[in-house]
Each structure stands twice: as C-alpha cells, then as structure tokens.
Amino acid sequence: MRETISFVVNGEHYSKNIDVRLSLLELLREEGLTSVKHGCGVGECGACTVLIDNTPIDSCMYLAVWVDGKTIRTVEGEIKDGKISQVQQSYIDAGAVQCGYCTPGFIMTSTAFVEKHKGQNVDRDEIRKEHAGNLCRCTGYETIICAVESCLKD
C-alpha cells in the first residue's frame, strides 16, 4: 500500500511515493532529519515533536500520509544563514540543555509558543501548560521555562 504525497519540510519541496504504514517520525528520520527523536513512540514524551503548519504534533503517532499538502518544520530548518534561532540560543543561554535528547522536541514546542505569544504577558503557568506534552529527565524544567520567558520579552 503506497501513496504519493507532496509536502514541504523546512522550505524544501518533496513529492514522494510512501508506504502508508509509516509514521511521520519514521519518514522524517529516513530523510535524514534525525533531530526528530524517537522516545516513547506513544504520544507521552514529545521528543518527536515537529510543527505541521506551525502547530506542534507528536510525529510518532501521526501517519506520514497525513502531511500531504502540508508544511513541516523541524529543528534542522530553524538555523538560518548559519545562525541558530532565538529560541535555540535562549536554551543555551539559560542552561536548558543537558543530555539533549528532549531538546529538539522542546525547541519546536517553544518555537510555536513564542511565535504565538510574542510580546504578550504570559505567566509561567501558561508556559508550563503549553509545554506539558514534552518530558525532560534532566533539567527539572526550570531553565527551560526561563529560556521561553526570555524569548517572549525581547
């Protein structure tokens, strides 16, 4: 069972004939986008988070065929002209990365959050609530929240 689908990943157009049994996670990793991590595989941890039409989703429980006609963003595409994004830089500055396994997923959730709430007065509870789908076993979250807060301010 195969279907031909067209989609855009990080600004690049793809047209591919794919196996309908693939998850989006598997499709993206096969394309070399290995920032997309396989954690739990069942929607609990958010390590596989990517943006579809700027909305965060867990790519492990999303059929690859569903991206037909859609635009996907992964961490690879956040680097523009050799420079990492504001969200990526803020994670570094806040010390929000330890082992790093959760980081690409978190960065994508934060990126969508910051783009939606830029300049607004958002409290820490709201930041926590909107990052509740991403788990981190190392940092204790505090530094991650600080990173997001700093992006909203400037």
């Binding site: 929607g43 959730t109 990052h131 789908g133």
Partner: protein
C-alpha cells in the same frame, strides 16, 4: 511502521459509510491518538483502516438560525478551545478540552474520537452530558439522532453499530442559554493524565433559587453518568451552603466507582463528594450568584 493491512483515505462521510458496509473488519481513524496507540500495542482490531482524518465535512462548527450549535465530529480539541462560538456559548466544552493530554495531543485528537472510543474517562463526556448533547450518526440507510446519555453502554462500549459514522454533536439552545456551567478534572498530575474523576455541571437560577441543575461524572460508574437523584433534589432549592451540601451528598445515589490501580473506590468516593460541591458551586457562580 504501523501494522496496517488495508487502508483507504475517504473524501466524504458517505464514502466512509459505504466502505464500512463492505468490510466488517474496517475501522475508522480520525486523529489516531487512540487507534495508532492500539496498533503500536499490537491490537489486531485496527489493522484495516478507513481514514477520515482532516475531512472538511466533519470539521465545521456553527450556530444554526435557531441557536443550536453543531460541532463536527472531526474537530480537534485545540479547535474547540479556540472557536469563538464555543467560547461564547458553551465554554464548558472548551474548559474540558483544555484538560486533555498536552498540546500535541489536543492538536490532533478529535472530539468525535473521544466519545466513540467509549473510554469512561473521556474528558468531553461529562460536559456533553450536562449539555444534553445530541449525536448525529450517519449510516448506509440514512441518519439518526441519539442523545449522548443513551450513547454509552459500558466500559469501551457505545451505541454505534458497524457502519455508523458520528457526524456531528449538537447542543440545543435550550440546554445552554441562561445556564452557568463548570468542569473539573481530578487527576494525579495537572497534565498528560487520565481523570481519576471528572465532573461537570450546568445550572439555571431563578433569582437565588435553583430552577435546574444538571451534574454528570466520569470514572464514577461503568459509564459516564448523570446524578439524577441530586438533580431532582436540587430543583426549587435556595442557594445556601447547607442546600449545596445536601445536593452534593445525593450524587452518590446514582454512582458506583470502582477500585483500580489508579485509585481505590474509597478515594474516588471522597473525590466525588468534594468535586460535587466544588463544581455545583462554580456552576452557580457562573450562572450569576456570588458565593
């Protein structure tokens, strides 16, 4: 890879209905947050899929001329939370939607899938029960309507027969206009957790007197339930602390929570008692009486 053996993407509900009719093993997939997890876990029941993901026909939210609100079964919880009509007229549904999973789950999980999977913990169920929602179900020989209170049969079992597709959920104006409402999900964690007990109420007041109270619970019986005895007992009562206490005590008459690894029966009984009081009070306040 998911263990999918047959797959058809459909372009309309009528196509889904006719494909279901032809294949007794075929199952629908909408957001897939339930179906894909079951496939991951090796369940054989979901290997032949009819895909209604992103079907425009199922993603409409509108207020009809008579004031009734219709939500397509394929609307995601994030869409529910952001929709102007829902926020304005039936915000309790948006409130319930906000308690589901985390953002990634809410961005794909549909309200139709939430009730069709029959989970007794479904977070949209209690709110739909107190709004007396009506389900529009499509099948080969025509459509039918079913009150959500008659939809649940037992754990994991609903009144859908093979070939049925839930099309829309209707909330009639008479069931939301003039009502205050509230939903509270009690879970062990604040996010990404299944309800230990869920409770929703709507309340209509005549001055300081309760004209109508509707209260429903999830995980408090083998299926989501309205606490009818408490509702009857509330009618015509003045809003006082003592009366709220009495009404809250009556909810137990209709409920029968179970022991499970998540929580003991006794603990659930305690949570039910506290939530009943809290949610009734919040619904009364929402209806306009400050407590």
């Amino acid at each position: 890879m998911f263990n999918i053996e047959k797959y058809s993407k459909v372009k309309s509900v009528s196509e889904a209905v006719s494909l279901l009719e032809k294949n007794p093993r075929a199952r629908l997939i909408a957001g897939g947050t339930d179906v894909l997890i079951r496939l991951r876990e090796g369940e054989e029941d979901y290997t032949e899929l009819i895909d209604i993901h992103d079907l425009a026909e199922l993603m409409d939210i509108q207020k009809r001329e008579n004031g009734d609100i219709s939500m397509g079964a394929g609307v995601t919880f994030s869409q529910v939370m952001e929709n102007a009509i829902i926020k304005e007229s039936i915000p309790v549904i948006a409130q319930a939607a906000g308690t589901i999973g985390g953002p990634q789950v809410r961005n794909v999980a549909t309200i139709g899938g939430n009730i069709c999977n029959g989970a007794i913990s479904a977070d949209s169920a209690a709110a739909l029960f107190v709004l007396d929602a009506v389900l529009e179900i499509e099948r080969v020989n025509g459509a039918r309507e079913l009150p959500v209170r008659e939809f649940y049969l037992g754990p994991g079992r609903v009144a859908l027969e093979h070939g049925d597709v839930l099309k829309a959920i209707i909330v009639k104006q008479e069931n939301y206009a003039g009502y205050g409402a509230n939903y509270y999900k009690y879970a062990m964690r604040n996010a990404m957790d299944i309800a230990t007990i869920g409770c929703a109420a709507t309340c209509k007041l005549d001055g300081e007197v309760i004209e109508e109270l509707k209260i429903a619970f999830t995980v408090a019986a083998p299926k989501p339930m309205r606490a009818q005895t408490a509702e009857d007992g509330a009618r015509g009562k003045r809003v006082t602390d003592e009366n709220i206490e009495k009404i809250a005590a009556l909810v137990m008459e209709d409920l029968n929570p179970r022991d499970s690894w998540r929580a003991s029966k006794n603990f659930r009984l305690q949570v039910i008692r506290i939530l009943a009081k809290r949610v009734i009070t919040a619904a009364i306040e929402d209806a306009g009486v400050q407590r």
